[in-house]
């Protein structure tokens, strides 16, 4: 032993020899296979030697040979092979199990349609009885044959029938379950407490797993294709799996035991392949609302302390009541404040009316989701309870613009213009969506002024999607409705009319006169000429004479602001 530090390798003497030869001559032929293919390893050996380490073989060839030859050693080749074979045998033999069968721990059993149960419930088993009946007849025929009562063709006829029938019957069962286990995939035929294995694919035999589209394009006719070593393929139609939960099981099993070969098979496929899937939360809500029983639990409005959604929300007080419903202030578990907007869903009316009510609620939730913006109140959640629908909105701390003006009086022009600029931003945001959203109720009641001077827009109940003015019935507050909105044909410019009316209100603390062009200067002398003209243009009766979008209004307002500063 030299005094140099040693590096003991996990190899035999001869392997080390072949390495030394390689270093001298560059001859790679004799190198052990795994070293040959690993240039990184060879390089590290070289570095070790160059650094001064001595390479030492871990054991001699004789020692190694002893291991492999010693059949009593658990690591001997024979021993390992024997074990594998016995495992395989176990997996391949049919174990007729009775009544209940346990799925081995870790195995995933997937029932195929039309078996929806994992365990076949033992019901009145006619098939068995019928089979037994025929067997009895068969035995009877054999008996009679021996007693010469019937002979010749008739007997053979019976024999043939029975045999073929039983075979056919067994065959016709079809594959009812797929069991994914540690060893492989087993296609089973379970029936009335009996299990028979039809096909077995060990994991090592699997070369490819992928999804194959079907010719008809119909989603559930896609199939999961398993390719075996040797080219044989097995297809499992998705419509047989039929259920996203079972599909998750399948994918989990595949990921668990054969990750390498899984291509293009993921959990979410059911979601992505299903076309036009609506938002599941709202679908569930809608389903719940429509199928609710007519009995109402609560006939009185919610009182302080009332709780909803099993305690998730606790009502603190009523914030206000409008024609469409009541708004409550509520507290959540972490003392977070929210606003609950309550809608009463009619119960004792025709299904069409109920649907209409639920749809209009759904419409508002969808609107609020779409128009997401810091200038607009945000929607946290929507739920349905006791034949009432609730919107959970962010709590905006402050009075409505209407109350604010009633309380503190007319606003200064500068302040009014600043608010008006924000209103233009709001409208611009709504109008630039695709499709555009026409609010139709842009009034001081629906604007909240926070303590920090922020404005937020609430209430989208009558908002209309689309700028083509096909909103149907006329809705809104008279004083803020331009003629075309009264005719049921609201457009973006209708919101601008309402904007004009709102600015008017800020400057005069009165609603403008309905269907007329307004001038706030007639009621408030301090209003500048520029601002007066802006309001006037906004409230022109002919929509073509107004500003055509909120950006134009904003431009003029900004000009107005600059002018007032310079004054």
């Amino acid at each position: 032993m030299s005094s140099d530090p040693e590096l003991i390798l996990d190899c035999t003497d001869s392997m080390l020899e072949s390495y030394r030869r390689y270093r001298e001559t560059g001859d790679v032929e004799d190198l052990p296979g795994n070293w040959k293919n690993d240039p990184g390893f060879l390089e590290s050996l070289e570095q070790a030697e160059d650094a001064g380490l001595t390479l030492v073989a871990g054991y001699s060839d004789e020692e190694q040979a002893k291991w492999f030859d010693n059949t009593s050693s658990p690591y001997s080749f024979d021993a390992v092979q024997k074990e594998f074979e016995s495992l395989l045998e176990k997996a391949l033999t049919v174990e007729p199990e009775t009544k209940t069968f346990e799925v081995r721990d870790g195995d995933i059993l997937v029932p195929l349609w039309p078996n929806t149960n994992t365990f076949s419930e033992k019901k009145d088993n006619y098939a068995k009885r019928v089979a037994i009946g025929f067997v009895i007849v068969w035995l009877g025929a054999t008996l009679w044959h021996f007693t010469q009562l019937i002979n010749g063709g008739t007997y053979y006829y019976f024999q043939g029938i029975m045999a073929i029938m039983l075979w056919l019957f067994a065959l016709s069962q079809g594959i009812t379950h797929i069991n994914f286990g540690a060893i492989g995939i087993e296609f089973q035929s379970r029936f009335a407490g009996n299990k028979s294995k039809r096909k077995f694919i060990p994991w090592n035999n699997l070369t490819d797993v992928c999804l194959e589209q079907s010719a008809s394009g119909s989603f559930l006719n896609w199939s999961l294709k398993l390719t075996e070593n040797g080219g044989k393929t097995h297809s499992i139609k998705l419509s047989k799996i039929a259920n996203r939960e079972q599909w998750h099981n399948v994918v989990d099993a595949l990921n668990k035991w054969c990750p390498v070969h899984c291509r293009g098979v993921d959990r979410e496929i059911f979601d992505s392949l299903s076309l036009n899937r609506q938002d599941p939360t709202y679908t569930a809500l809608w389903l719940q609302a429509l199928s609710a029983p007519p009995k109402r639990e609560r006939l009185q409005p919610l009182m302080a302390g009332a709780s909803l959604q099993a305690g998730k929300y606790e009502v603190t007080r009523i914030l206000g009541a409008g024609g469409q419903g009541t708004a409550y202030l509520a507290k959540m578990a972490d003392d977070k404040l929210v606003v609950l907007k309550e809608y009463i869903l009619p119960v004792f009316v025709d299904a069409k009316v109920r649907r209409e009510a639920i749809d209009s609620f759904k419409h508002e939730t969808e609107m609020l989701k779409r128009v997401h913006s810091p200038l607009i109140v945000s929607l946290n959640e929507a739920f349905f309870e006791d034949n009432r629908a609730y919107l959970v909105l962010e709590y905006v701390d402050g009075p409505s613009l209407k109350s604010a003006v009633l309380e503190s009086g007319i606003l200064e022009e500068k302040e009014a213009v600043k608010h008006a600029l924000k209103m233009c931003d709001m409208l611009n945001h709504l109008h630039s969506l695709t499709p555009a959203v026409v609010h139709r109720d842009f009034t001081p009641d629906n604007l909240i002024l926070t303590s920090s001077g922020e404005l937020k827009l609430i209430d989208f109940m009558v908002a209309q999607e689309g700028n083509d003015g096909l909103g149907g019935m006329a809705v809104g507050k008279q004083a803020f409705m331009p003629p075309e909105q009264l005719r049921g044909k609201a457009t973006i410019c209708s919101d601008l009319y309402a904007l004009g009316g709102t600015i008017f209100y800020m400057l005069t603390a009165q609603y403008p006169e309905a269907i007329s062009q307004s001038r706030p200067s007639l009621f408030n002398e301090k209003v500048s000429v520029e601002l007066d003209d802006i309001v006037n243009k906004c409230t022109a009766l002919d929509s073509k004479a107004r500003y055509q979008n909120a950006k134009e209004v904003k431009a003029d307002l900004e000009k107005c602001l600059r002018e007032s500063v310079s004054l």
Binding site: K240, Q278, W286, A357, S516
Partner: protein
């Protein structure tokens, strides 16, 4: 509710039926078998045709004629037993629908994905709904028999189809069936007999702030019994009720307790009381009578006489636009009513003279059933106005209603009766029609002029014009008693 899965038991074959089937099948088999055996053993050899067959051919004949059908015969009951064993549930989940075999069928139907169901229809047998028919994208049709499923479960299936079958087209038959089923399950009479249109229903029933009274509720110390909800919206509702067995009345309700603004609440109460007082003072056979008014539980009620018949809106929507003579006759009656109201001291302006508030009774007379005064303030107070702008004159929209506003509304109503369409808001109504005399058309246009000065200046004037038109057109006016011109 992300894992929605329903399993609905549906009947296939009961054990007794299975037993019966097997017995009959077996008996038939024995009969056939015996017959065949007899035939092959006794009769066939006698027939020269069979005799002449070679042995090989005979065997083939035997195989195809006897053995194979025999196998099939035996296979059928086995398969049936297996299928029944598999369970007879309809499975509904987010992804699709699994149907059991039809009664006695041999195989389950394949799983249907919602996205594959293109058309849903109702299959009717012997006049009664028997099955839901689903057509999938490949063109195949599947039938789900509903006879043996509970009604609630049928509703669930239809709801699931509606929720997740975004691409599915429903036939009207199925839609009506679904609505009627939902009504039936909840014990609601629904509108199946009056075939109300959707938009009409939304006019009558819009969002409320309060919970409307339930049918069966008793008021006024049990003397009034609410039968059904006729309309509601905002803070008010209208009910059909009984104040003595068999004596129908109409209840108008105003939920004052819901007003959070003191000022608004007082104002609305004042208006309500005023309306009640006014109605109490009016005495006209064609204006609904007020029987009583009271307050209960923070809500104010008016008990009104019930007019039996159909509103003009219903009449025209279901029967189509009316003929000119009819319209003139009815118009004269309406003018008479307005004349009465406007000649009161002080004049009473109705404010809501629309086809929804006029009922044609069985004897051919018109009855005015609603007074809009409180309604209009309510609209202002709650802020949102729904519907009838077509009948409101510009000055009324501005809040300055006067008798000429009622003339405007009457013009709009006449237009509606002749065309079946609501008049367009803020526009004089002109109709093009060969069947309506030009004079009548001009009159309607004048009545709906935006400028007050251009309208006929009173209901009396309108009546006079109508009479003149009637004479020129040649209508006999003997049936009308009440027009005082």
């Amino acid at each position: 509710m992300t894992n929605f899965q329903l399993s609905i038991p549906a009947r296939t074959l009961t054990p007794e039926q299975m037993r019966a089937f097997f017995v009959w099948w077996a008996l038939l088999g024995i009969a056939l078998g015996t017959g065949l055996w007899y035939f092959s053993a006794e009769i066939a050899p006698a027939i020269p045709f069979f005799h002449s067959l070679s042995a090989g051919l005979a065997r083939i004949l035997y195989l195809t004629g006897v053995v194979i059908p025999g196998l099939f015969y035996v296979y059928v009951p086995m398969r049936l037993a297996v299928v029944n064993e598999h369970g007879t549930n309809i499975v509904v989940n987010q992804d699709g629908l699994g149907l059991p075999p039809a009664l006695g069928g041999l195989a389950h139907m394949p799983w249907l994905a919602w996205s594959d169901i293109k058309l849903a229809d109702l299959y009717i047998r012997k006049g009664k709904p028997a099955a839901i028919s689903l057509m999938e994208s490949g063109g195949k049709n599947y039938r789900l028999s509903i006879k043996d499923i509970e009604e609630q479960d049928v509703e669930q299936i239809l709801l699931a189809l509606e929720a997740w079958g975004a691409n599915t087209i429903w036939t009207d038959a199925l839609t009506n069936y679904r609505d009627n089923l939902q009504n039936k399950i909840r014990g609601i009479e629904g509108n199946s007999n009056t075939l109300e249109f959707n938009d009409e229903l939304s006019r009558r029933f819009s969002a409320t702030n309060f919970i409307p009274l339930e049918p069966g509720k008793k008021l006024r110390s049990g003397t009034i019994n609410i039968k059904r909800q006729m309309a509601f919206g905002g803070f008010s509702a209208v009910y059909e009720a009984e104040d003595a067995p068999g004596d129908t009345v109409v209840m108008k309700e105003l939920v004052v307790s819901k007003f959070d603004n003191e000022e608004a609440r007082e104002k609305v109460i004042e208006l309500f009381n005023r309306e009640a007082e006014l109605l109490g003072q009016l005495d006209h056979p064609q204006i609904v009578r007020l029987k009583d008014h009271f307050t209960e539980d923070g809500r104010k009620y008016m008990v009104l006489e019930h007019a039996s018949g159909r509103t003009l809106r219903e009449l025209v929507r279901h029967g189509g636009p009316l003929k000119q003579d009819r319209v003139i006759q009815l118009g004269l009656q309406m003018a008479g009513i307005l004349k009465y109201l406007h000649e009161r001291v002080p004049p009473v302006v109705h404010r809501d003279f629309t086809p929804d508030n006029l009922v044609l009774q069985n004897d051919g007379t018109i009855m005015l059933i609603d007074f809009g005064a409180a309604n209009e303030f309510l609209a202002e107070a709650t802020g949102t106005l729904i519907g009838k702008q077509g009948y409101m004159s510009p000055e009324q929209i501005k809040g300055k209603a006067e008798p000429l506003s009622d003339v405007y509304s009457l013009g709009g109503t006449l237009y509606f009766m002749l065309t079946g369409q609501d008049p367009e808001a803020l526009t004089p109504s002109w109709l093009e029609s060969d069947e309506v005399s030009i004079a009548l058309r001009i009159l309607i246009k004048q009545m709906t002029e935006l400028s007050k000065a251009e309208r006929p200046q009173s209901a009396t004037v309108v009546g006079t014009h109508l009479l003149q038109i009637a004479q020129t057109v040649g209508i006999s006016l003997e049936h009308f008693a009440n027009v005082v011109v």
